[in-house]
């Protein structure tokens, strides 16, 4: 419950400030938003209640309607068909909203050693970056970071969770030098 309220507040704050206050948006850690989503499962978040998500130029629209993440098979960094479709949407949105920069976070599930998973997460993030660049986005707008297995979204030790954790997430922010 506590988490839910917190999540609601964060989302609310984002919605209000997203288009007006770039600094504020930066500070309101987008990673945190994802984490909250993970804790409460999307069921708790009524998408229709969040006006921002319906605004095609909002970050909420990006993360929720287009989809900010793509998933991977075990120990691979090959984009799936579904992943490519999501990325096509992301590429389109980023092309339209050209003042946004993107950081691609690569993640791995817990079935692996820490170092290897860090490297694997980097491969996944890079696969996404290369795909977006191949769709015409400027390479300079996209950075990658790998969290390896340090930031799981789902916490169970089963394939259902692992599948959600093997992911690359595109985090968008207003560029400082755009």
């Amino acid at each position: 419950m506590k988490h839910f309220i917190k999540a609601a507040l964060v989302i609310g704050a984002l919605t209000l400030s997203a288009c007006t206050n770039a600094d504020r948006f930066d500070n309101a850690d987008a990673v945190d938003l994802n984490a909250q989503n993970g804790l409460n499962t999307p069921v708790n978040i009524d998408q229709t209640g969040l006006g921002g998500a319906n605004d095609p130029s909002s970050p909420q629209f990006f993360s929720q309607t287009i989809g900010d993440r793509v998933l991977f098979e075990v120990d691979t960094s090959t984009l799936t068909a579904a992943g490519r479709a999501t990325l096509d949407g992301q590429a389109g949105w980023l092309a339209t909203n050209s003042d946004y920069l993107a950081v691609i976070e690569g993640h791995a599930d817990e079935q692996g050693t820490r170092e290897y998973n860090l490297a694997l997460g980097a491969r996944r993030a890079n696969a996404v970056r290369e795909y977006l660049v191949s769709k015409g986005l400027a390479a300079s707008r996209i950075r990658t970071v790998s969290y390896g297995k340090e930031r799981p979204l789902e916490v169970c030790s089963a394939e259902s969770c692992y599948a959600q954790n093997r992911r690359a997430v595109t985090i968008i922010s207003i560029g400082q030098n755009s």
């Binding site: 170092e115 860090l118 790998s146 030790s157």
Partner: protein, 442 residues
């Protein structure tokens, strides 16, 4: 004096007699191969308080020495309630028969004197069944707040005299202290005594920190931090942890998995560029960077051998994670792991004879050791998730991190003897991972 002379004469006579006897008949020649492996029972009567007011300190020091020895699994303390007699004083003659009767094979006696903030610890070690002292008595002096270290030093000497190899008790561990739920772990660097005492934190939890590594002298620590938003290598001075610096690596997106060379002048690490992870070396004095591997595969977790001439690392160039050894200057590596499953995080032992590693097979994780050519692989542990071995300074014990399964999974540090015996959890205030065992302190 007289007694000793007589003893010597008697001994010589007996020796003469035996030589004569031996000439008459060939000695019997036998080969002993089958023995036992068990904890050696030892007795450590509470150290004597030589100065009034030293009683508590004497008891504490005796207890820590006993815990050190017990904790190895090689020794087993005989409880004082079984003692037949205790030495009247530190210098009193030892009634060996009393100790033989309770099967004590080693006996440690000692005395403690506290004077203000100074404490003096004296001890002697006896081989009960030979009825002789092992080595000479020793005395340590220091300040009272260093009493644990003095206890560890006594235990190190006892360990070393009985086993013939250096101890590891007076050493420290740096590790990642973990708190919070699995999807929001707070991680910070912590340093503690080898036995989990005296935990101190070196960083706060504002950024993820990973895999700290001691320098050979134990005064500096390399680790990976996300404080810049990206994984980068930081170095900190143990004496002044606030003054940490980011290591200037070769240009790249992310850097991690660092280790010092033995002389502390070079750092080897993994660098990620364009999604590809390779191993690099940076000379700290000159800033010169050398790329040591160059493949599209993941090359990481490099570790020097003790003389710094070779590096063992993991690579998935064959399709799965395997272990390879290459020259410290790079060049064609030789694969050393050929078993089923995946091998990662190799660490060269300080003795140079073994490599410890993490192995994944059939959904289980293991800590194992193999010779440096990959032979004589031996798995020491098995669990849902064991990883990141580090060697005790004497190369006899391995510490590693273990994580339990499920949404409430927790992390903890464990240690195990290289024979696979004596698996123990190391007590830490919270969860722990990525231990790095420092050298014996001076």
């Amino acid at each position: 004096m007289m007694t000793k002379l007589m003893t010597a004469i008697a001994a010589m006579m007996i020796a003469l007699v035996s030589v004569t006897a031996a000439q008459a008949q060939e000695p019997l020649r036998l080969t002993l191969r089958d023995g036992v492996i068990e904890a050696l029972p030892f007795a450590i009567p509470n150290f004597q308080a030589e100065v009034a007011g030293s009683e508590q300190m004497a008891a504490d020091i005796s207890r820590v020495i006993a815990e050190d020895l017990n904790g190895t699994g090689l020794f087993r303390q005989i409880q004082s309630s079984a003692f037949i007699s205790t030495p009247a004083g530190f210098g009193s003659p030892i009634e060996f028969a009393d100790w033989r009767a309770i099967n004590a094979q080693a006996l440690v006696t000692g005395a403690v004197a506290v004077n203000g903030s100074q404490v003096t610890v004296k001890f002697r070690l006896y081989d009960v069944f030979s009825g002789a002292e092992m080595g000479e008595g020793l005395q340590f002096a220091g300040t009272t707040d260093g009493w644990r270290r003095m206890s560890h030093k006594v235990a190190d000497v006892v360990y070393s005299r009985i086993t013939g190899e250096a101890g590891y008790f007076d050493s420290r561990i740096v590790y990642v202290a973990e708190t919070g739920p699995k999807d929001d772990r707070a991680k910070r660097l912590a340093i503690m005594d080898y036995d989990g005492a005296n935990v101190q934190y070196l960083t706060d939890s504002s950024a993820i920190v990973l895999a700290p590594r001691f320098s050979a002298t134990g005064d500096r620590i390399l680790y990976t931090s996300y404080d810049s938003g990206f994984p980068r290598i930081n170095v900190l001075d143990v004496a002044n942890p606030q003054g940490r610096q980011q290591l200037t690596t070769a240009p790249g997106d992310m850097a991690f998995s660092p280790r010092f060379s033995l002389d502390g002048r070079q750092v080897i690490y993994s660098l990620i560029n364009g999604g590809n992870t390779d191993i690099y070396r940076t000379d700290l004095a000159t800033g010169q960077n050398t790329r040591l591997t160059n493949t599209p595969a993941i090359e990481t977790a490099p570790s020097f051998n003790p003389d710094g001439s070779q590096i063992v690392f993991e690579s998935d160039r064959s399709g799965t994670q395997q272990l390879y050894v290459m020259s410290a200057n790079g060049g064609e590596p030789q694969r050393i792991s050929f078993g089923n499953g995946r091998y990662g995080t190799p660490v060269w032992s300080p003795r140079g004879d073994l490599i410890a590693f993490t192995k994944q097979e059939s959904g289980r994780f293991h800590i194992g050791v193999m010779r440096t050519d990959g032979t004589e692989e031996r798995l020491l542990t098995s669990s849902f998730l064991d990883e990141g071995p580090t060697w005790a300074p004497n190369g006899r014990v391995i510490m590693f991190g273990r994580e339990t399964q499920g949404e409430n999974g927790t992390t903890a540090l464990f240690s195990v003897d290289i024979t696979g015996r004596n698996l123990r959890r190391v007590s830490t205030p919270q969860g722990g991972s990525d231990p790095s065992w420092g050298p014996l302190q001076r």
